[in-house]
Structures are given as structure tokens and as C-alpha cells.
């Protein structure tokens, strides 16, 4: 069988996807903020998250977790 190489001389000149998406400016990581206040805010925020998670969590956690059995992989 004939072996063929893709023709092209230079291998440089890579184009990169360079546009960085804008960083989310987040008050929670503002290092000048007061730590205690920040933690209070955090836990309020977490309560909202838990409410949302409650709605989507699989029912019967015990049997769901028990039946998640995998074969080993790499």
C-alpha cells in the first residue's frame, strides 16, 4: 500500500482561539469584603441552591446510590 504524507512545508503559524470570555465579576470573591458578612451571605445563597437541588434529586436516594455499580476502568 502506498503511503502518502499530507503536503505542507511549514508547521508553524498556529491560529489560536484567543478571545477570552469576560471574567465574572463576583462580589463573593472580593478580598476587601468582610469575611463574616461574606459567609453569612454565602449560607443564604446556599439555601437557595439546596432548594433547587431538592427539586431535581433522584427519589429514593438509598436504592439509587446502591444500584450505581460500575465495572472498573482505566
Amino acid at each position: 500500500m502506498r503511503v502518502i504524507t499530507v503536503a505542507a512545508k511549514d508547521s508553524g503559524g498556529q491560529e489560536r482561539a484567543s478571545k477570552q470570555s469576560e471574567q465574572v465579576d463576583d462580589e463573593l470573591v472580593d478580598e476587601t469584603g468582610d469575611l463574616k458578612e461574606r459567609h453569612a451571605k454565602l449560607s443564604e445563597d446556599v439555601d437557595d441552591v439546596l432548594d433547587e437541588i431538592d427539586e431535581v434529586l433522584e427519589t429514593d436516594a438509598e436504592s439509587f446510590v446502591r444500584s450505581f455499580v460500575q465495572k472498573g476502568g482505566q
Binding site: I4, A7, D26, V29, F68, Q74
Partner: protein, 503 residues
């Protein structure tokens, strides 16, 4: 080099049919892969070309005898399990008893995240399509690494390195880095020990499954440094470092830093820049201890006698990297390298001062915050099945059910990519590696591609008696710049082969 180098990731997804723990995972994994392949409407399915695969080649310079190898190591034998090569240059297939997605080759950690995230989307789509087959049961897929009952499955990283770098240098400088990297890249886990029997939370999904320092195995006695040496490139010039110690990340920042900082450390090793020996006393035991202490206070003892925390050890690597980049590039540093360094420093300093402030960036912190929330609100402890369920469901790939997916959609995770970029990467290859040639060929000439692999595309053409194998041994050729106009003007694969062979 900077953070930029040829790299990629491979992820084995957890798979289950709810209510049917004994479902045959090889079969269900095949259903997933086949469902996606069918949905792509491919008349012909290209095979994987195994010609250049050497899974028993060891980086230390010898081949493992085939009869001494475990059956799971013989990955070059076509098992007849489902396998597709995608138009984005990726490979979607069944490995052991899991569906696996291997990204196309990319050149930087940001693209690595984009094409890895495309894999999550592909898995979710595959499961959705599989469920539409009449009579089929729904199949769930999880981007995690353990069932908490003793089984672990991998998410591997690959980095192309200079062949001239002595392997002993890689082992010496990379081991302490890998032992401590989990404080940034860990995905978090409920359960301690391989079977998860002991109660508690740990930083890493994978740590407890690592048992030795260096070795060729990936499924038994897993080593911190894996010595598989299949470069899928010119072996005189390159080695491919096959990293098996990472967790599968959902968080973009965790994954971006995991691959970006590893690439930087490799660059320093290649350039012999690391001046300090951070060798850890008892690295395997230390790896487990760090994972088991989310308070981050666990001390690591270096062979020099020095003691420091994992975060401080990472900070040492960061300091070296900062100096290295400054010495080598100064103000000419590229944007991604600069960004990786800035984020790495920021993450490490906040891990020192206020770890929970990383709840929007790191998988293990985000997961721990939710779990602690449940413990507090519902007064439950680590043995409670709901906490185990939160751990599992965090990694569910479905947009409506996966906890990471839900929270990310609500803007609760910091990101470095956009949905549009990820959606595009589902179908389109990176433009700056040979994956571009592979992906475009699969897209435009699907009916004529008999097989493909990382380093070849094989055509079956009506006007030629023998198969035409086009080797793509150089990962940085066959890029958009090289072959776009060629592929654009060749209507058929026969035209393409005629043009590149000149006959």
C-alpha cells in the same frame, strides 16, 4: 514552551440503567456510542486504525511481554466494540465497560476545556438518542471516577513532550506536583477508601485508587506516573506523557488549571529550570492523606526533611513557574499562559486564606459547600445516602438533572468558555492541529473513509484497488492553515488523494 503544547483528554463516563444494577455495561455503552453515530446519519462508519498503537511500550525503554500483560492492557486489539470518529476530530468509543470520549488534539488548556466540554454535550445527546430506541431503558451517564464500591475509571490527560527529556527528571519533578495538584483539580468525593466504606468527604475522586509511584498499568496497581509510551507522533522527537492521576472535572476553572499548570511544569522540566528537588517522602500515602483532609492542614514531608502543606507545595511550583515565564518570555508572554499564572496564584492564595471562597471555581469546593449545606440544614451526616446521591448526581451529564449543569446554567460557576464555543466544538475540529484534517475528512468524505486514528486517515476509493493511508504523524501539520483550501477545492476523496499524491 509555555502552557502551549499539543495536549488532549480522555474520559471514561460512569454508566447505569436506574433500577437495573446488573445491566451489561459493555452493551449499554455500545448503545450509547451507536445511538450517537446513528444520529449523525453516517452511511459508513470509519474503523479505528490500530497500526501505530503500542500500549505495551514503556517509557523506561522496554516492551512488556504480551503474555505478561493483563487483558485490559491490550487496547490495540480491535474488540469489535462500538467506535466512532467524530467530525470534531474526537473519538467516541467503548473502553472496557464505559463509553469514552477522547478529545481531538489541541494546543492549549483553554481549547482542551472547550473540546472536553463538547464531550459532555455529546454524551448527553447520545443518551437522549439511545432512549428513543423503542423498548430501550433510559441510560444515565456520569462524568465521575468511582462507584464508591471499589471500582474506578479514568479521566486521562495527554501531553506531547520532547523525547530528549530524561524520564527520571519527569518522575522526580512531576510526582510532588501530582501528589499536591488535587487541591486545585480535585472533583471531591463522599466516602473514604477504595470501596467508600468509611464515612467522610475527600478532595479527590481518584486518589484512593493509586497504589504505586511509577508503572505501566492503568487498571490495576495504578501508578502516580504512568509510563505508557505511545507518542502517536515521531518517536524520535516526541513522547506522549499519559497522565492517569486526574479527576474528571466539571468545573471549567479546575480543568483549565489542571492542564495549564501541568503543561507549565512540563515546560520547566524540559528546559531543566526546576532548581529545587521537592521529592516527597512516601508519595502514595501522602497523596491519600492530602485528599482526606479538606481543611488543607495536612503536612507533606519532603525527602529533604522540610514540611509544608499541599497548597504551599503548589505555591512553590507556582513561584518557579512565574520566574520561568518571566525569564523566558518577559512581556511577550501569551495571553493564556499569563491567565493561567494569574488564576493559579489567585486560587492558591485563597485556598490558604478562605477555601470556601472558591465555591464558584473548584469542583471539590463547590461540592463540599452543597454537602455541608445539607448536613447543616437537614442534620444529616456523611453516612446519609442523600449526600452520596448529591456526590453522584453532581456529575450527571443531563442538563436538567446534573447538579453541576443546573448550577452552571444559573451562572453559579465561573467560566472561561462560552456556550457557543462549546456547541461549535461538538461538530468542528480545532484549527491548529492534525485533528483539523481528520475532522474535515470525516465531515466531507465520510463515505470514503475506511478507518482513521490519531496518526492516519485511510481512504477506500472507487478508483483505487488498495486502501490509501494518509499518515498524519506530525500533530502540528494538517492544520486549517495547511489544508483548508485543499479540502475546500476537492469535491471527492479521490480528488483529495490525487492532489496530495500527485498521481
Amino acid at each position: 514552551m509555555s502552557v502551549q503544547r499539543v495536549m488532549g483528554s480522555e474520559t471514561e463516563y460512569g454508566i447505569s440503567v436506574p433500577g437495573h444494577p446488573n445491566a451489561n455495561a459493555m452493551l449499554t455503552s455500545s448503545q450509547i456510542v451507536n445511538a450517537y453515530a446513528t444520529a449523525m446519519h453516517r452511511a459508513r462508519r470509519a474503523r479505528w486504525d490500530f497500526e501505530e498503537e503500542n500500549p505495551l511500550r514503556d517509557a523506561r525503554g522496554f516492551d512488556l511481554a504480551r503474555e505478561l500483560a493483563d487483558a485490559s492492557q491490550l487496547t490495540d486489539e480491535d474488540s469489535g466494540l462500538a467506535n466512532v470518529i467524530l467530525t470534531n476530530g474526537a473519538r467516541l468509543y467503548v473502553d472496557h465497560a464505559h463509553p469514552e470520549y477522547s478529545t481531538p488534539e489541541v494546543t492549549n488548556p483553554r481549547d482542551a476545556v472547550i473540546w472536553d466540554k463538547a464531550g459532555e454535550w455529546i454524551m448527553a445527546e447520545a443518551a437522549r438518542h439511545a432512549a428513543t430506541v423503542p423498548g430501550s431503558l433510559p441510560i444515565n451517564l456520569y462524568k465521575n471516577n468511582t462507584d464508591n464500591k471499589g471500582a474506578s475509571y479514568g479521566s486521562h490527560e495527554n501531553y506531547l513532550m520532547a523525547r530528549t527529556t530524561p524520564f527520571a527528571d519527569i518522575v522526580r519533578h512531576l510526582t510532588p506536583f501530582f501528589v499536591s495538584r488535587q487541591v486545585v483539580a480535585g472533583a471531591g468525593r463522599v466516602g473514604l477508601g477504595q470501596d467508600g466504606r468509611a464515612n467522610g468527604f475527600q478532595i479527590s475522586q481518584r486518589a484512593d485508587y493509586f497504589e504505586v509511584e511509577v508503572g505501566l498499568e492503568t487498571t490495576l496497581k495504578r501508578p502516580i506516573i504512568n509510563t505508557r509510551d505511545e507518542p502517536h507522533a515521531d518517536p524520535e522527537r516526541y513522547r506522549r506523557l499519559h497522565v492517569i492521576i486526574g479527576d474528571a472535572n466539571l468545573s471549567e476553572i479546575s480543568m483549565y488549571l489542571k492542564m495549564g499548570t501541568t503543561s507549565l511544569v512540563l515546560a520547566m522540566i524540559e528546559d531543566r529550570f526546576v532548581s529545587v528537588d521537592f521529592s516527597v517522602d512516601q508519595p502514595v500515602r501522602t497523596l491519600h492523606q492530602i485528599s482526606h483532609d479538606p481543611s488543607l492542614k495536612q503536612l507533606v514531608t519532603l525527602r529533604s526533611g522540610r514540611k509544608l502543606t499541599a497548597v504551599q507545595l503548589q505555591m512553590e511550583y507556582f513561584e518557579q513557574a512565574r520566574k520561568y515565564v518571566e525569564d523566558k518570555y518577559g512581556a511577550d508572554v501569551d495571553e493564556i499562559t499569563k491567565d493561567v499564572l494569574e488564576r493559579w496564584e489567585s486560587v492558591l492564595s485563597r485556598l490558604e486564606s478562605d477555601p470556601m471562597s472558591l465555591n464558584r471555581e473548584l469542583d471539590w469546593v463547590a461540592k463540599l459547600e452543597i454537602l455541608e449545606g445539607y448536613r447543616k440544614r437537614d442534620g444529616i451526616d456523611w453516612d446519609n445516602a442523600r449526600l452520596h446521591l448529591v456526590d453522584l448526581q453532581y456529575a450527571d451529564v443531563r442538563p436538567a438533572k446534573g447538579l453541576y449543569q443546573r448550577l452552571a446554567a444559573r451562572g453559579r460557576f465561573e467560566r472561561i468558555t462560552t456556550d457557543e464555543e462549546i456547541r461549535r466544538a461538538v461538530d468542528q475540529p480545532p484549527v491548529d492541529t492534525r485533528a483539523y484534517f481528520r475532522g474535515r475528512c470525516l465531515d466531507k468524505y465520510a463515505d470514503s473513509v475506511a478507518a482513521a486514528s490519531w496518526d492516519s486517515v485511510i481512504f477506500d476509493l472507487p478508483d483505487r484497488e488498495s486502501l490509501q493511508r494518509v499518515p498524519t504523524l506530525d500533530p502540528l501539520r494538517g492544520t486549517k492553515q495547511h489544508v483548508e483550501t485543499l479540502i475546500d477545492r476537492c469535491r471527492t476523496a479521490s480528488d483529495l488523494v490525487r492532489e496530495i499524491t500527485g498521481s
